[in-house]
């Protein structure tokens, strides 16, 4: 059984836990709102807001990075302002692109204007309103033949996201998820249709008129893409119920437990990188407390794959288990990768984190017996 540190130590109680939790989310909200505020009278600065909130992923000039490019004329010509606004508000759950619920309407508008400035000559085309009528069954067959290779058989999108970390990749830009509730809520039928008709020059997304499909074929595919809306989308909420820390009490003494951890790490096919006191690097040699020992380890093959899925996984690196001695007890602790995964909004990463949690649990288990 995994136990909370405080339970294991029998020292502290969370009497007011629930109140603090409520307070914490309240103050978090207040804090974030305060942090995001621009003086109310000044018109929000779109360039600055973009630099702060978007440039890290989409590139300072909108040419893409971890996120897809936004500066493409073919994209801006088929993307109405409402689409941009809603995409910013809703994000793409599970596909890295975060939601920005705390920005004001004026701030969102300023960002949209800034994105438009990437291609000053390009005005969004007027797209017809209302649904596109087509046969989703026929569309499904066409989708499987023409789209699934890039966008996934169920519209789940390509592996990885955006243009990503500068290493060789199959495609310069990863195909977005089409079954994503954020995408489906933001994009109109007419916009999806326009994207299929004209494609996006400068990306792997071709024009399907040029590929020989008829307008009727395209309508059927649009109807099929829209039908993703009616399928249940996996919920990731459970991640937030995970405990932030994994911990077990060891049956052995401190020194023996550190040795056990090293063996358990090797047993899981991970390579030992370093064993050091937690305080090392903060105090001179000899003054660093020895009451906690960190064991760092890595599996480079696993790491390499994880970096391709999401270059931000450095925040989990290197893998680490800490042995802690407190009040005559020896505890072995680690972060819970599954709880941290909730911060990343990347379903592919969730799977890797699930596996990492398994590895951590096995190491904790093996080293405390």
């Amino acid at each position: 059984m995994l136990t909370g540190v405080n339970a294991a130590m029998g020292r502290r109680e969370y009497k007011q836990g629930m109140i603090f939790r409520a307070l914490s989310s309240l103050s978090l909200a207040a804090f974030l709102v305060a942090g995001a505020l621009v003086p109310a009278h000044a018109a929000p600065d779109g360039a600055l807001l973009y630099a702060r909130n978007c440039a890290a992923c989409h590139g300072a000039d909108g040419r893409g990075g971890v996120g897809v490019p936004l500066a493409l004329p073919d994209f801006l010509a088929t993307a109405p302002d409402e689409y941009l606004r809603k995409t910013i508000r809703l994000g793409r759950p599970g596909r890295v692109m975060p939601a920005f619920p705390h920005l004001s309407d004026a701030e969102v508008d300023a960002i949209v204007r800034h994105i438009r400035s990437f291609a000053p000559g390009v005005r969004p085309r007027r797209l017809p309103e209302g649904p596109v009528h087509g046969d989703p069954k026929r569309g499904a067959k066409l989708y499987a033949r023409h789209c699934a290779a890039c966008h996934g058989p169920d519209g789940e999108g390509g592996k990885g996201t955006g243009v990503t970390f500068s290493r060789p990749r199959d495609l310069p830009i990863i195909a977005p998820a089409l079954n994503n509730p954020g995408f489906l809520a933001a994009a109109s039928d007419a916009q999806i249709k326009a994207t299929l008709m004209w494609g996006r020059k400068g990306t792997p997304m071709p024009s399907f008129l040029k590929q020989g499909l008829s307008e009727r074929d395209i309508d059927d595919i649009v109807a099929f893409v829209r039908s993703f809306e009616r399928r249940p989308h996996e919920r990731r909420a459970a991640l937030k119920d995970e405990p932030p820390v994994l911990v077990r009490e060891s049956a052995s003494d401190y020194a023996a437990t550190v040795e056990n951890v090293k063996q358990a790490v090797a047993g899981q096919n991970f390579r030992l990188i370093r064993v050091q006191p937690l305080e090392q690097g903060f105090f001179p040699e000899g003054e660093a407390s020895r009451a906690e020992t960190i064991v760092y380890f890595c599996n480079f093959n696993f790491l390499y794959k994880a970096l391709a899925v999401d270059p931000r996984v450095g925040l989990f690196l290197p893998c680490r288990v800490t042995v802690v001695e407190r009040g005559g007890k020896v505890l072995v602790m680690s972060i819970n990768p599954k709880r941290l995964a909730a911060l990343f909004n990347n379903e592919e990463l969730d799977e890797l984190c699930e596996r990492m949690r398994g590895v951590y649990e096995a190491i904790l288990e093996d080293s405390t017996l």
Binding site: P101, L278, P318, V324
Partner: protein
């Protein structure tokens, strides 16, 4: 629906959907990521100087790329920077052992086409993990410092 009314209706819809989706979509504010227009070595310098200027000590820089390259993998520059305030680390690890796996603080730094990205978990995101009231203030302070450090990175030319 008239074209004029449409945006308003869309907003209401979007706001409603945001509430629903909020359960599943990570909000933009739990991780921080900044793009530095400087190349990797300059960004590392700017970042480390900014961290020190804010009163923190850098306990170690882990060269992830070096380990990968040594194992035969092709990768761009990638480092993890560990930092903290010595006395604060000492006090927190003593008083809040459940925080230990999250100590010291860290940031990932990686190259992307001549520019550099710096990523971190926002310290205030830890509020959802740990219930101790004193830690709220600590995390808030770390968060302010981190924002200010990353502002320097973002603005460095």
């Amino acid at each position: 629906m008239s074209a004029r009314l449409l945006p308003k209706a869309l907003y209401a819809l979007a706001a409603g959907a945001a509430l629903l989706l909020g359960l599943t979509a990570a909000r933009a504010d739990e991780l921080v990521m900044v793009r530095s227009l400087q190349a990797f070595p300059e960004t590392m310098l700017t970042l480390q100087e900014a961290i020190r200027r804010h009163g923190y000590v850098i306990s170690r820089v882990q060269r992830v790329d070096v380990g990968l390259t040594r194992m035969g993998y092709k990768t761009d520059l990638y480092r993890v920077v560990f930092y903290g305030k010595p006395e604060e680390i000492r006090r927190l690890r003593r008083d809040y052992p459940d925080l230990i796996p999250y100590l010291p603080l860290k940031l990932s730094v990686f190259a992307e086409n001549g520019q550099t990205l710096v990523v971190g978990v926002r310290p205030v995101a830890l509020w959802a993990f740990f219930d101790h009231p004193e830690l709220f203030d600590v995390f808030a302070r770390w968060d302010r410092d981190l924002q200010s450090i990353l502002d320097e990175v973002r603005e460095a030319r």
